[in-house]
């Protein structure tokens, strides 16, 4: 399979002929998706990450069906007593909490928040970061200066404290948490994309595009962007992990969305109930769930990183 997978190659997708522009755009996007998948396929670990991610996504989508019990419902034992603090058993695979609620169901339902926060944050971060990087890197000059100064300043604001304070001030809702995450996380993606754009800007094919009369917009989005996309995806996958960890941390500190169950919140509830020393299962399961999802994000990110930098490829 002698495909030219190096990012230097022009986005070699030909527009499918005929029909209306939407059809063509769809076809092209499908082609890109197939291309991206083939990139991941090369790296087995990246594929594992993708599989785990898809699995968790499906769990999140079908959560109400998959959860054996209502996570908020107090369970009772066969003998009628409340099933408080029951260690993992066949009936309750992850045990129960101090109020007798099934933790397995809680973890399953909790996946919805994780997936939601992860995907939305990743998307927003990639979107904002990539665009800032593209514009800053391509235009240079004052625009670049200003945008980079802004990124530098954002670097000075500590991430988690800012998220906590913001959420504490404007209210602990899911969207507020996502807002805090996005406001700060785009900075590293922007920096990296900009650096990539700077090297690409000098390549011959950009010169050729300019000479042939392409507008700046076209050059940026038709020619440069497809080449920085692997890097964007790499950082997107990484920021998905960071977002989930941040949400978990914010919830653990007590500022999670009061109406939703999230994995961080489960651990928070155990902490608040001062049950950590007696109910290890309460804390273990949600923590492992977080670890699994974030790790899959890292695997995918690594796979893309290897595309951008072939020297990192194994053998």
């Amino acid at each position: 399979m002698k495909k030219n997978l190096s990012p230097e190659s022009e986005s070699g997708h030909r527009s499918p002929p005929g029909r209306n522009p939407w059809y063509r755009w769809l076809k092209r996007t499908a082609g890109t998706a197939k291309f991206q998948l083939s990139l991941l396929w090369r790296d087995k670990i990246g594929m594992i990450g993708l599989i785990i991610l898809v699995a968790i996504f499906l769990v999140a989508v079908f959560a109400p069906v998959l959860a054996p019990h209502d996570p908020m419902e107090t369970m009772t034992r066969p003998d009628g007593r409340i099933a408080r603090m029951v260690p993992p058993s066949w009936q309750f695979p992850f045990g129960t909490d101090r109020l007798g609620r099934d933790i397995f169901s809680q973890v399953i339902i909790g996946s919805r928040v994780a997936v939601f926060v992860g995907l939305i944050s990743a998307f927003m971060v990639v979107f904002i970061g990539t665009n800032v990087g593209l514009i800053s890197g391509y235009y240079g000059g004052i625009i670049d200066d200003i945008l980079m100064r802004i990124t530098d300043i954002v670097y000075g604001i500590p991430f988690l404290p800012f998220a906590v304070i913001l959420v504490a001030l404007i209210g602990p809702g899911l969207f507020n948490i996502i807002l805090a995450i996005v406001l700060i996380s785009w900075r590293s993606t922007a920096r990296v994309i900009r650096a990539q754009v700077l090297t690409l800007k000098q390549r011959a094919f950009i010169e050729a595009a300019r000479v042939s009369g392409a507008s700046n917009f076209r050059i940026i989005y038709r020619h440069i962007m497809p080449n920085v996309l692997p890097l964007s995806f790499a950082y997107g996958a990484l920021s998905m992990g960071t977002a989930i960890l941040t949400e978990a941390s914010v919830s653990f500190l007590g500022y999670g969305d009061p109406l939703l169950i999230s994995w961080g919140k489960i651990i928070f509830m155990c902490y608040v109930a001062q049950a950590i020393t007696v109910a290890w299962w309460w804390v273990l399961a949600p923590g492992l769930a977080i670890m699994l999802v974030v790790m899959s994000g890292f695997f995918i990110g690594r796979a893309y990183e290897q595309v951008v930098n072939p020297r990192l490829r194994e053998r």
């Binding site: 000075g156 500590p158 991430f159 961080g264 923590g287 974030v294």
Partner: protein, 323 residues
Amino acid sequence: MRAYVIRRFIQMLFTLYVLASVLFFMFRIVPGDPTLMYVDAAIPKEAQLVMLEQFGLNRPLGHQYLLYLKNTFQGEFGTSFYYHAPVARLIPPMLISTLLLMGTIITLAFVLGAVLGTLMAWRRGSRFELSMLATSLAFRSAPLFWTGIMALLVFSYTMKWFPIGGMHTPGQEFAGVLDKYFNLDFLHHLILPSLVGAIYFMASPMLIMRNSMLEVMGEDFIEMAKAKGLKDHTVMFKHAMRNALLPVVTVLSLMIGFAIGGQVLLETVFRWPGMGREMVLAIQRFDYPMAQASFFMLGVIVIILNFITDLLYGYLDPRVTYR
């Protein structure tokens, strides 16, 4: 070099200014009476009026802003609602606690990460490399507070190797700052939280170092170094690592921003009496002056450490300082 330092210094001051302003406006977004931010409703009316005057809360916004900047610059953060003492006096011991723990974590993470990353690159494709990769990624993926909780459960509660949080065994008196921190008890309390933090933050510098080393090892000057007849470890440490260190130092600045977040979590889980834990507690207690000051101090730590990192990078890479 001097121009570089001056430029970075001015940038640092500007960032501090922006941080203070962001803080100012953030606290004004809160619906309701902004005076509640500074003035404890519980204190007697006359005292309230005095505070209002001091913070210019009865003056127009622009005026308040300038007064706020002046106060911040002078370290005047008001009086804590909870402790009923000037915030400025409460901060220093907490600051020291935070800096000690954070400093230990960053140093450990950075040094261990750099060395392990170098070894990983040198032993490309070996089982060592893969196992290091897997372990560090696993720890980086698990939430820091969870790792801390698990560590406490296993090593403190069950094995009883380490104390269950805190910075000192309770009920001690200290003669002075040196006495307070230069003792075995402190060290004993320091070990677990710093190890937990280091393992978490180690992944980034380690991977970056490895990637960076792989890039550098392919460079011509490495081949030249070998051709000159230098020993393998000289080539690896003196030439490859020194060059590979540069991107890692860049990542250091990024890491500092996250490390502060980690501090908040670690201090909470380990009940470490630092600035991070205080901020969370202050917010819970609606002790606004304390919350604001804590957040600001955390930001100041990040900004100053970033400045130092910039200087470090300038020292390591002679190309950067010659603009």
